[in-house]
Symmetry: C2
Amino acid sequence: MTADPRSSEQRKADTLARLQDDVDLWVASASADGDAYLVPLSYYWDGSTLTVATPRATRTARNLIRAGRARVALGPTRDVVIVDGPVEALAIGTDVELEDAHARATGFDPRTLAGEYVYLRITPHTIQAWREANEIEGRVVMRDGAWT
Amino acid sequence: MTADPRSSEQRKADTLARLQDDVDLWVASASADGDAYLVPLSYYWDGSTLTVATPRATRTARNLIRAGRARVALGPTRDVVIVDGPVEALAIGTDVELEDAHARATGFDPRTLAGEYVYLRITPHTIQAWREANEIEGRVVMRDGAWT
């Protein structure tokens, strides 16, 4: 049995709850010559942006800084939230309040680790949310940065 | 409390069980000019390869056929299996046995749908499996197509 499709309002509420409550997401990225990459990273949600941290030398950091945008996914594959948006790279020390909040949310503090980490802040531009095939229609819950 | 890291044998067993029992995975792909993409797809595991099906016109199909390889992820972000390997594109009608098995495993049969679907068969070359940070070491459970 598949549940009835959720209303647009319910999807927005569920999406916000997931962004608030989850800890990890999947980050897709690509090199300039089209080599795809995918890793899970912990994130911090401040109510309007997602922040992850990873060593500046990793493929994910290099790819996202090059591209200037990211596509990330949260949730199990039958309750997905997919976020597309621009990425801002913030060196350690740029925003101490954000760095403190990231450490609390993720349980790790890149400022204490060897190696140069970079914070990558993603501002959702498009968000899709669906569970089963009957929710494919109406899956865009944010378009051009505005909730639909 | 984080559990002790699993043995290499246990990780292989858990990985095979997940490949057998799960239904969906995350597929990362990229265009030739480095635009990353990410979608969940249902798959069929035949014991040594993963097969997904998607319309030939989708970004995922076009990206994977161009690249000739894929990076896909299974499981929740704290119990991940990440598979890298070459991709073979199979037009409908190429392998009826595989197509029947795919329909049984995924619950949908692209042969019955409008639009031209393509099967994409991924042969694992590298597999990584880890739960928490203490399993990052030893996460490569398959290298060059051989279990480690």
